[in-house]
Amino acid sequence: MTRWWEGRELSTVAILAIEIAFFAWYLWPPANRTHPFVNAANAVLILKYSSIYGIAAIGAAMVIIAGGIDLSPGAVIALSGVVTGGLFVGSGWSLTASALAGFLTGAGCGLVTAALVVAVGLPPFIATLGVMGIARGAGFIITEGRYFDVSSRLPADWRPLGLPIDWTSPLLMIGLAFVFQTLMIRMQWGRAVFAVGGNETAARYSGVRVGLVKASVYLAAAMLAAVSGIALTIVQGQGKADLAMGYELDIIASAVVGGASLAGGRGSVVGAVLGALIFGVLRNALPQIPGATFYDRLIVGLVVIVIVVMDQVLQRRKRVDS
């Protein structure tokens, strides 16, 4: 666990590479056209949309490793964006202050989840389902079904920190992936997360502060979802309550494809980001296959099953019976 890259991350990278190679071959254009899939603009596009899921998948991976589950990221993404947009456009706050408020809103959702799971003792599924409803509902109440047009107050060619705006989310995703991978692998806290997910009773007996660890992963997950939501709102230009509907399943799927086991105790933050990219590539490439319009869901479902089944088979072979 202390090696920065585990076997699992390497094979997830390999899957992503094969996927890209496959589509590069399959979508090869006839003579006089540029390649629709393999070009810089398309790569940026894939990264841009994958990072909506990817940033939140970092948090989802940590929650799943700790033995829990989080159904709220989609709602938190939307609510943070709504709060940011509302303050920026509706109340005239500065962008930084609005973003901070949006971040704190997301963190607040995380605290509620943490309290429900740790203090009250609700099963995480129920607790995050509740928070999902509350956050989503709050978004609708604040916006009353309309949206905040953030792009109206941003300069047309705005470049945050001198970079093209489309690069913001991907860079955030990659940066946060590195930060959290280090936390999980090199810090005692990260090891405690694995311990709690692997055997909560033994963790308690071993002196781990189980309640604190659990609370911290839910808080971190909500904060990451908030970051994703704020970036989404700024990049896409709209704070809207119905954004990211249903994204929680894709986010969890990214984490699982990246190696997280829903039983807890196993997973990888970098793997989750790679998982988000795997789905992002699929989402981008499939529209380019004529006639494949209605096969989307089927293919995505098949890919998930294949990857997870292979993972199980490999796990079983590795485990040495006593």
Binding site: M1, R186, F194, A202, Y205, R209, G265, D321, S322
Partner: protein
């Protein structure tokens, strides 16, 4: 007549580790046959091959004279082979009757479950085993010892001709063990073949006609019970002569106790328990099922809150909020159930061994130096594992227990609490663990051991405190040789005062 069970050149490897090599011997019909050996000798693996849990890589298994290939446990059951496991495998959320018949439910037409019939049969079995529980009792509410007896009932329910038992008395009291032996004697008389795997040589000698010894996956020899003594068996198992058990030096501790509990109470489990342990002293906490031993230890270390009473460590009154808090004060507990309470199967040994110390010291960063320290621990304790990167799932039960003990002892605690430290551990490792406890005691730590293994306590402890049904019944000291006997302790543990 064909042998009941015959192993011919059985070989089995798990990855690079050869668990069994070329094992050949036969078990006659109707005999009771013991298989003994150290940890890693291959006993459990051999049993698993017999009951179809594992397929051998090489060799042949014959049951009743026919060469068989068992693919799943049901094949073995179909051939009349039943197994009572070492690790308690039960469905805690189901009733006792459901557990007895799990997988072999009695069904009527269309597969409807015949609950009534199952409950009746279960009741009969439980009465025969003298287990005072109702067939409807939910298993999760039963104490560990009763669950063990459920295992036996389960095997009996399937009318097997060959019954294999893997450490069945590990969690049983002497009384319960006697009951079990009576039942096994009854089975013997009915011609059932018994295969008995155990570390407890006294039981083996009481019960079995012949004894097969395995060592390091290889077959050593088969002895007839009448022709051999315990020491010779141990020597065959270990392959070396063990030093004689160190006689208990009567320590003369003076001064203040390092650990003292005064009238510690947690209703309804235990009340008014007072024990003192001097630095360098080893005190045994003996009691039968329901006596409250585990609960006392868990309360001391902060897993539970006491209702009343006082805990004093090194002269300071303390109340520990959690095991973490206790560990930081140098008070640690080696828990009873290694699978549920002691090990992380998703982490490798290096992390398992380093975690408690890291948490107690408040470390923030995972340090590379842990690897070396973990390797040193594996070597010092002779824990058989391929490397520190192995996971506990790859280890045998005894080695797992050593890992659990090692990780706590590595913290060099001042107060060492242990709950059944050698349950399911082979003779060689048992001696090693005892040696470590003595080593800790010699460094002026206070050791309090809860155990139902009376010979172990008699050999190890300076004093034995006896509990029964949540209360202290008495105390015997090693200095008083006349009183420091099994009989005396058992009397205290079993009779109402």
């Amino acid at each position: 007549m064909a042998a009941a069970v015959e192993f011919r050149q059985i070989g089995k490897s798990f990855g690079a580790v050869a668990a069994l090599q070329d094992v050949t011997f036969a078990i006659a019909q109707g005999e009771s046959h013991a298989i003994v050996g150290e940890n890693g000798a291959g006993k459990s693996t051999l049993l698993r091959i017999l009951v179809g849990g594992v397929r051998p890589d090489r060799g042949e298994l014959r049951i009743g004279g026919d060469a068989v290939t068992l693919n799943i446990a049901r094949d073995a059951m179909a051939r009349g082979v039943g197994l009572v496991h070492q690790e308690m495998l039960a469905f805690p959320n189901l009733s006792a009757a459901a557990n007895i018949f799990a997988g072999r439910e009695i069904t009527g037409r269309f597969g409807w479950l015949r609950d009534g019939e199952m409950r009746d049969r279960a009741r009969v079995l439980l009465e025969r085993l003298d287990v005072p529980i109702s067939p409807d009792a939910p298993v999760e509410s039963l104490p560990v010892a009763y669950r063990q007896l459920l295992q036996v009932a389960r095997a009996l329910a399937s009318d097997c001709r060959t019954l294999a038992l893997d450490e069945p008395t590990a969690s049983l009291t002497a009384a319960e063990s006697d009951r079990l032996f009576a039942i096994l004697d009854g089975l013997k008389r009915r011609g059932v073949t018994l295969i008995y795997v155990s570390h407890r040589l006294s039981e083996v000698f009481r019960l079995c006609d012949r004894i097969t010894v395995l060592r390091d996956g290889c077959y050593v020899d088969t002895f007839s019970r009448d022709a051999i003594g315990a020491d010779a068996i141990v020597q065959a198992m270990v392959g070396r002569t063990l030093p004689p058990r160190a006689s208990v030096a009567a320590t003369t501790p003076g001064g203040e106790p390092l650990l003292r509990i005064d009238r510690l109470t947690r209703r309804p489990r235990f009340a008014d328990v007072s024990v003192s342990v001097m630095p360098g002293e080893i005190v045994g906490l003996f009691g039968l099922v329901g006596s409250g031993r585990t609960e006392v230890l868990e309360t001391i270390v902060g897993l539970q809150r006491a209702d009343g009473g006082m805990l004093t460590v090194d002269g300071r009154v303390r109340t520990f909020r959690s095991p973490r808090h206790a560990a930081r004060a140098g008070v640690v507990l080696v828990p009873e159930d290694r699978q549920r309470q002691g090990l992380f199967f998703n982490l490798n040994l290096r992390h398992n061994l380093a975690l408690p110390a890291a948490e107690a010291s408040g470390a923030r960063i995972v340090r590379g130096a842990e690897r070396g320290a973990a390797s040193a621990l594996l070597a010092r304790w002779r824990i058989k594992a391929s490397s520190v990167d192995a996971t506990p799932g790859a280890l045998s039960g005894g080695n797992q227990q050593k890992v659990v003990a090692a990780k706590w002892l590595a913290m060099e605690p001042r107060v060492l609490l242990l709950d059944e430290p050698t349950k399911g551990v082979d003779v060689g490792a048992k001696y090693e663990i005892h040696g470590m406890i003595r080593d800790r005691a010699s460094r002026r730590a206070a050791c309090l051991i809860a155990s139902s293994d009376l010979p172990e306590l008699l050999g190890l402890a300076d004093r034995i405190v006896v509990m029964r049904e949540g209360r202290l019944r008495g105390e015997v000291s090693a200095t008083d040789a006349a009183a420091f006997t099994e009989e005396r302790v058992m009397r205290l543990a079993t009779t109402a005062s």
